[in-house]
Structure formats: structure tokens, C-alpha cells
């Protein structure tokens, strides 16, 4: 990992050091949080939380129109689409064929809306409804097909480093290992695997974007993912189901920025013994054993 080599220094877009833009699937963003639009108690809370998070990318799902019951306010009316790049997902798909099908439906909708998100997709091919863990074989198959169809594919996957590298080889624009199961709030359960994913994916290709997607429960989880060297974090439930979603969204933004800066600043090595911050020299009192 070549982060913390100084080249990210103070020449960032903002006034704070290290907060430089990043690029994924040909799109460049300042914010390194991607935020989902599901599970908010109401649209007003969602709008305020998205704004507080500072995100520029929002994820959405592709579903049937409700034809026979009250539709209520549509998500598309609730979000200012001129502000956000929409990232449609294939959530709920359990086969590569379904994920490809849903990706094409999402593209059609975003083309109709004239949104910049029309040619990319957050690919999820799930193996099981209870765990929502990804099906690695189905994900790889769908990734290949979608890349061939011109999609920028952001691949949700497990934290398996070898699966991650296979997806990159298949043409994924970004590999997005899960910190822990979707919506579980368990944070980054296996930081070593995330580090291995980052090492393998960025070997000789430092700019290759890696996003930790899923499992975030609190702001510290975002900071951990960013400190490990992730380029960005994608989350939904941790904000939407927080007691105060807007406050949590603020916290997530700060944690993301703080984690990024912490990663670049270069942390001290961990040591077994203490190291005094105040000098021993000139001490007026007695040191035991000396």
C-alpha cells in the first residue's frame, strides 16, 4: 500500500489536507461516502440525511411499479436528481441472469431520467436470503456479462481477496468487499482480509478504487475501513435506522474524512510498551527503581 507517501498532501480540492477527489468508473467525486436510499422513516429524513452525509452518489433499487395500491410519493420525486449520481443496484437478485436483467432495467430508467448513473451498476448476486452473502460464481458470471454490455460494474463481494482479484480481472470498475453482512451493523469483521483485498487489487494499480460496502454500524466502522486504505465506503442502514439519522449522517461524513486523513497521515507503529510523551529529563520527583 503506497498510501501515506506524501503525494496526497495539501494539494487537495478542499482546504483540508488529504481530502482529494477519487475516480470510479470514469466518474470523479469529492465525497468518499456512497449512501443508500432505503429504509428511512420518511422522505424528508432521507433528504436531510443525504445532504448531511455530503454524499454525491446515492444507491437505489429497481422494483415493480405499484399499480393497484397507493403509490405515495415516489423516491424519484423525493430526491433532487440533479444533485446526485444515482447508482442502481441489483439487490434481491440470486442469479447472474436476473442481475443482468435488473441492471438493464436500471439503465433504461436512468437514461430516461438523463442521470449520469445510466451506465453503471452496483452488482449484487446473492446466495441466500437469510445471510445476504454474495454468490461468488454468480457475481463473476454477471460481472463478465455486464462489462461486455458496456456497464461500469461496481461489484459487491465478500472480503475474500481471491474472489476480489477475479472480479477485477473480469473487468469490474470497482470491487466492493463487505465489512460484514448487509445491514448487520457489525463493522469490519476481518480487517486483515480487507487489507489483503486492497493489496491485491491495488498492486501496480494504486488508483484502482476499492469500496467497503455493507456492514457499517457506526461512524467508527467507517473510520476503520478508511484507515485500512479503502477509497470509499458505501452504507445505508447505519444512517437510515439510527435513532437520529441526520446526526448519524454528519458523523459518517466526519468519520470518512477523518479515516481518510488518518490513513494518509501515516499512523505510528503499535508497540507493546509505553512511550512517555513528557520528557524524563528535569523531573523533580523520584522514579521507582532508579
Amino acid at each position: 500500500m503506497a498510501i501515506g507517501n506524501g503525494q496526497h498532501g495539501a494539494a487537495a480540492a478542499g482546504s483540508e489536507p488529504g481530502l482529494s477527489p477519487w475516480t470510479v468508473a470514469g466518474r470523479t467525486f469529492t465525497s468518499r461516502l456512497l449512501v443508500g436510499t432505503g429504509k428511512y422513516r420518511d422522505h424528508a429524513t432521507m433528504r436531510d440525511a443525504l445532504a448531511a452525509s455530503g454524499c454525491e452518489v446515492v444507491t437505489v433499487a429497481v422494483r415493480r411499479e405499484r399499480l393497484y395500491n397507493d403509490r405515495g410519493e415516489s423516491l424519484l420525486d423525493a430526491i433532487d436528481l440533479s444533485k446526485y449520481t444515482v447508482l442502481p443496484n441489483t439487490a434481491g437478485c440470486f442469479t447472474a441472469a436476473d442481475a443482468v436483467r435488473v441492471s438493464r432495467l436500471g439503465r433504461e430508467l436512468l437514461e430516461q431520467l438523463g442521470n449520469a448513473g445510466a451506465s453503471w451498476v452496483k452488482l449484487e448476486v446473492l446466495g441466500d436470503k437469510k445471510t445476504l452473502l454474495p454468490d461468488p460464481a454468480g457475481t463473476l458470471e454477471a460481472c463478465r456479462e455486464l462489462v461486455a454490455d458496456g456497464f461500469g460494474v461496481l461489484c459487491y463481494t465478500s472480503d475474500d481477496p481471491i474472489a476480489a482479484i477475479r472480479l477485477k480481472e473480469a473487468g469490474a470498475a470497482s470491487v466492493m468487499p463487505a465489512g460484514s453482512p448487509i445491514g448487520s451493523g457489525q463493522g469490519v469483521l476481518n480487517p486483515n482480509n480487507i487489507v489483503l483485498c486492497l493489496e491485491l487489487l491495488k498492486q501496480g494499480d494504486e488508483a484502482y478504487p476499492v469500496v467497503v460496502d455493507a456492514g457499517v454500524g457506526s461512524a467508527s466502522d467507517v473510520a476503520v475501513a478508511m484507515e485500512l486504505g479503502a477509497d470509499a465506503v458505501l452504507l445505508n442502514t447505519a444512517i437510515a435506522h439510527a435513532k437520529h439519522p441526520v446526526m448519524m449522517a454528519h458523523a459518517m461524513r466526519r468519520a470518512c474524512e477523518g479515516g481518510r486523513q488518518s490513513a494518509l497521515a501515516g499512523r505510528i507503529p503499535k508497540k507493546l510498551y509505553a512511550s512517555a510523551s513528557s520528557p524524563w529529563e528535569g523531573l523533580v520527583s523520584h522514579i521507582p527503581g532508579e
Partner: protein, 96 residues
Amino acid sequence: MGSYRADETRLHSGGPGEPVDPADRGGSGDIGLTVNGAARRAPAGLSVAALLVECGLAGRPCAVEVNRALVPKSRHGATALRDGDVVELVTLVGGG
């Protein structure tokens, strides 16, 4: 993805701007459709665009599949539905 290609042959589209050939409308009278999983009767020769009007979706962003094949918006007007067609009308909702 063979199922997509096989199903595309069932679509009768006159192409952009071309009128729908009445002979392709699946006969006179009503036809049976499945729209978003529910059975529905419709007049023969109904276009995708007209179905969207009937469903109150005119002018709304809506992705349409007929028999699992995507029908882009540019073809909604010229694509006639046939008896037995399975139609999906899809939008974007909140999700992660």
C-alpha cells in the same frame, strides 16, 4: 442469457415511428396480459405507451419489459402487446 434472445422474437415492434400493423395485433377484441404479476384484460393492439397511460404512468420514468425483453422508451409507441404477453413496469425505489 439465452432466454432473453428467445423471448425477443415474440415482440412485435414496428420500429420507431412506424405505425403498428393491425395484422400484428393478435386479432380483434380483448387480449389477456400479465402486468407486474397480475392478470389484466386489454384491447387488442394496445401499445406499450397506451398501457402506460392506462396504468397512470404516462410521463413517469418507467422501464418496460415484455416477455423478459427490454422495450426502450423510443419503442413504447410502436410496440403492440399480444395476447399472453407478460409485462413488467419498473421504477426506482429506495435501496442500498
